[in-house]
Symmetry: C2
Subunit: 244 residues, 2 copies
């Protein structure tokens, strides 16, 4: 039987090069949207509604009387209640609640994947790496790993996550995609200590977040399977996918 | 003194993210446009005129009574005389002549860099790696390494070349660019045997060209400094840059 294909789009500005029809798109925004999404859902959030603007986030928060959260340039956006750190969403706070979330890069890509007609849209982070990989292997469908990057620029952490997925699932897919191999090479080089790798390689996001005192956040987001759920984007909301 | 900046655009579709004003743009198309350009100029070609279509190539060839060459999808384009292999341009054939060249990816990027107003546009390949690096170090200007890729998809060989440049010049530049670090990591992993690396990583271009029997071409294009000139794009023509 022919294996399904796997491609990696290293930036949202490259997603249009890939055919998303009949494809599972994995949206990746390691620092920190998809890490926060995994954590909040793992800790029992009912659902997360990703929106593309701070204004829409405030408006929807009022309408639904729910928690609003989001960052712009790595900090809590004015008018919103919470930021984009996993540590803000422990079970005792988030369980059973709806979160309206806007982020700089990740939300935009979710909307792009939806507009392009992906069959299924899930989100990936190191925190839920195993859940994502097990699902992809099980589904036997074509896959696109869609990295959010930073304002359309390729970044190290999302590329590492794509590479981690490639290194785990590669036997099950036909991978004729240089970007996937570049990502895999990066991950294999960095995996012993990804935090140290980002630091020594002057990763742009490392600098951006450490300037805000977020070293602990970065280390957390680079840890495997601490929030091992499978978030799926359905009817405009991110929810934990029921076993298929 | 503040060091100049260096960025890498891994695909032509990402070039718009970088400011090319007051910047040297290095156009990279290792397999095979910028390798052919280096070789033809090294072997004494008077000038190379890159054009963006086969039709324009044929027309200009007639007007100037010169050699026309180019590929589409890795093979000699119908209506043109020569292909895109370095081996087609030995000194006894090309010396003193004008070559009109059209290629799938490289030419397009030269025109993009020009349209965006780069201060200086040069071309880079492994065949002229040292000439490019020495020039960049000497000039002390901002640099963008612009990879041609394949139909806007990121490819391994152009990324490796960008990484090779980064690894050689990095002390002289301020590099806050994740793409440059990813490229450098790839190059350092692959450099012992780049041909073998492309083969074992299923590089798309490796497959495309080996299907045409071009293994020898690939190996040649991955060799350092065999045609160590500095091609500059001036007034619509590629010529060997005079020492500045």
């Amino acid at each position: 039987m022919k294996k399904p294909s796997l491609h990696t789009a290293l930036s949202p500005a490259l997603l249009h090069l890939y055919d998303v029809n009949n494809t599972i798109v994995v949206v990746i925004d390691v620092l920190r949207a998809t890490s926060t999404i995994a954590t909040a859902l793992y800790n029992g959030a009912k659902e997360i509604i990703p929106v593309d603007s701070v204004q829409r986030c405030i408006q929807l928060g009022k309408e639904l009387e729910c928690i609003t959260a989001g960052e712009r340039d790595g900090q809590i956006a004015p008018g919103l209640q919470y930021g984009n750190s996993s540590f803000e969403y422990p079970r005792e706070f988030i369980e059973g609640k709806t979160l309206v979330l806007t982020t700089t890069n990740g939300t935009k890509l979710l909307h792009m994947a939806l507009a392009k007609g992906a069959t299924e849209i899930i989100t990936g982070a190191f925190l839920n790496l195993s859940a994502v990989c097990e699902h992809l292997i099980q589904m036997k469908k074509n896959v696109i790993l869609a990295c959010s990057g930073w304002k359309d620029r390729v970044n190290i952490e999302d590329t590492m996550l794509a590479g981690a997925v490639v290194s785990i699932v590669e036997e099950h897919f036909s991978i004729n995609c240089d970007s996937s191999r570049i990502a895999e090479t990066l991950y294999k080089k960095a995996r012993k200590d990804m935090y140290e790798f980002m630091k020594t390689n002057d990763a742009s996001h490392y600098h951006r977040l450490t300037n805000f005192g977020l070293e602990k956040d970065i280390r957390h987001c680079l840890t495997h399977d601490l929030a091992n759920v499978l978030p799926e984007y359905v009817n405009g909301k991110l929810v934990v996918q029921k076993k298929k």
